[in-house]
């Protein structure tokens, strides 16, 4: 898509294997079979926008694995959070989790994953694209969203436009506090709210589910992440298909769980252990194949408290 030069702000010199425009996702349309989409690591996405001076919902780039090179066509205020993909600004290391000025003509590059899988680049004002069903979230499988509205990932030669900053950015810290920056090299403990079929799993399987280390399989993408480990047996092998929420951990007859993420199918028919919290789903989306994760079942009280604190912090 070509944009008038006046609005274009960034030129894509090299697109990388999977760079997608993402906002918070597409809602109010799941009954049409349209998936959620949106930033797979909502936590890092929210911090990127916050640090760049944007409000909740602004579109960012979700950069998976790296391989991206961008040139600024005007001075921009940005923040990069999430995975450490060895980002550089004119070949100097780019500080993450803080506001940075990206000057006209400078090249911002993302190399390869050093820690984590997906980085988020927020630009003050937010990236501009025509929303489809009220969202620019790019879902290639559904041909919805993204720069051209047709679900295409970033391509070499694309020009990215930025919304004009209409109001003065809010006075905020320009750096995320140390404890907010996640260390993706640690083995994450993913918190799960048990679901209705949990009682149908055998006792041995439940013990294994919450006391084993699970390995992230290479069958992992924005739809879902397959975990390999001990076989989990459920007395129900298949169910009548029903709506599935973000983070649902379903167990097909092969006994290996799949945690469903943003681009999941809207309905499905496997029994579920429960649902990861949105923050745990975010954390899982940063895991590379071969990494280990643990599952921990918890009651809704503390999980809800944590989730609400997260939403409240960023919705102000």
């Amino acid at each position: 898509m070509t944009l008038p030069k006046s609005t274009a702000a960034i030129r894509v010199q090299q697109a990388g294997p999977l760079t997608l425009l993402q906002d918070q996702g597409r809602f109010g349309c799941r009954h049409l079979g349209v998936t959620q989409g949106g930033a797979a690591d909502l936590y890092s996405w929210a911090w990127a926008n916050y640090l760049a001076g944007n409000s909740w919902g602004a579109a960012c780039l979700e950069i998976t694995l790296g391989g991206l090179q961008l040139v600024a066509e005007k001075d921009l205020v940005i923040a990069v959070t999430g995975a450490d993909l060895g980002a550089t600004l004119d070949q100097k290391p780019l500080p993450l989790w803080q506001q940075v000025v990206w000057k006209e003509g400078q090249t911002l590059a993302f190399a390869t994953p050093l820690s984590g899988l997906r980085a988020y680049l927020a630009i003050q004002g937010g990236l501009a694209a025509e929303p489809v069903l009220d969202s620019v979230a790019c879902v290639s499988r559904e041909q919805l969203g993204g720069l051209d509205g047709r679900g295409n990932k970033l391509a070499q030669g694309d020009r990215l436009a930025v919304h004009a900053q209409t109001s003065k950015p809010q006075e905020r810290p320009h750096q995320a506090p140390e404890d907010a920056r996640l260390d993706f090299s640690q083995t994450p403990v993913l918190e799960l709210l048990p679901g209705a079929q949990i009682g149908e799993f055998t006792g041995r399987s439940l013990y294994a589910a919450f006391n084993s280390r699970w390995r992230v399989d290479n069958r992992a993408d924005r739809m879902g992440v397959r975990l390999t480990g001990p076989r989990l047996d459920c007395r129900i092998t298949s169910m009548i298909s029903e709506g599935i929420n973000l983070g649902s951990v379903q167990v097909p007859p092969d006994g290996q769980p799949i945690a469903l993420l943003n681009d999941r199918q809207t309905i499905g028919g496997y029994p579920r252990l429960g649902a990861l919290t949105p923050l745990s789903a975010s954390r899982l989306a940063q895991c590379l194949p071969g990494q280990e994760v643990q599952l921990k079942a918890r009651g809704s009280g503390p999980l809800l408290e944590k989730h609400r604190r997260f939403l409240e912090f960023f919705s102000n």
Binding site: R30, H31, G33, L144, A196, R308
Partner: protein, 242 residues
């Protein structure tokens, strides 16, 4: 007015910090629809601006809400009230009716022969049987605008493929067991392809986006090649199964 009762005690099941599943039935039946349609509507009214998404399916409704506007406990209480007052939608006001012009032919329906062999019917009899019945939309999912419809006549019941096709063309009309559907976009798929419709099933420029909605009534109207092309149908043959 006589009260109609549900065949089982409805259940509320946790589906995450921001969602409940309302389970009304434990088996697929066309008579589930008036209840689920009413439930969907009543939940929309009850939750108001705290509602995020509603996903009806064959026996359940997934209700997703905004946890900043409603706690799971408060949502649960509201949904319990909805269920306690639930009455099935008046059957005199069902969903909309659609006729999907469909070209049944081996070039675009390469599995007509498979279904014929499996059922012992002739290809013509399979086509007649599939196109004579009207179907209900039970659920949307799998892909935008993909409607799961049923139930097909038991005479043409035929299982899906163990290994799906890599690419099923847009508009393909398909059968799996006693369910039928039409593909709104080219996707992988393991259903038996009987033909192709010229109808645009998902259109981002249309109000409501999806041609078919849960509760709608659908008939596949057999048309000849000429009419199919006139309606804008695509004759590109299905790629050989990998």
């Amino acid at each position: 007015m006589t009260e109609t009762r549900l065949p089982m005690q409805p259940r509320l099941e946790s589906a995450g910090l921001d969602a409940w599943i309302l389970r009304l039935f434990d088996r697929i039946d066309e008579t589930n629809l008036p209840w689920l349609t009413a439930l969907t509507h009543d939940c929309e009214v009850a939750l108001g601006d705290a509602l995020v998404d509603l996903v009806p399916s064959y026996t359940t409704l997934l209700v997703v809400f905004d946890p900043l506007k409603l706690s799971p406990q408060a949502a649960r209480q509201q949904l319990e009230v909805v269920i306690s007052r639930l009455q099935p939608e008046d059957t005199l006001t069902p969903g909309r009716s659609h006729e999907l012009p469909t070209y049944y032919h081996p070039s675009v329906g390469p599995d007509l022969e498979r279904v014929a062999q499996h059922t012992g019917l002739s290809v013509d009899a399979v086509i007649a049987c599939h196109s004579e019945k009207s179907y209900r939309v039970f659920a949307l999912g799998f892909a935008p605008g993909f409607a799961f419809m049923g139930l097909a006549d038991p005479q043409i019941e035929c299982p899906r493929f163990d290994t799906p096709r890599q690419r099923v063309p847009v508009g393909s009309v398909a059968l799996a067991a006693r369910q039928t559907a039409a593909y709104p976009a080219a996707t992988p798929g393991g259903w038996n392809l009987l033909g192709r419709t010229s109808a645009r099933l998902f259109d981002r420029d249309r109000e409501g986006f999806s041609l078919l909605q849960v509760g709608d009534e659908v008939r596949f109207l057999a048309v000849d090649r000429e009419e199919f092309v006139r309606l804008g149908g695509d004759l590109t043959p299905v790629e050989a199964k990998l």
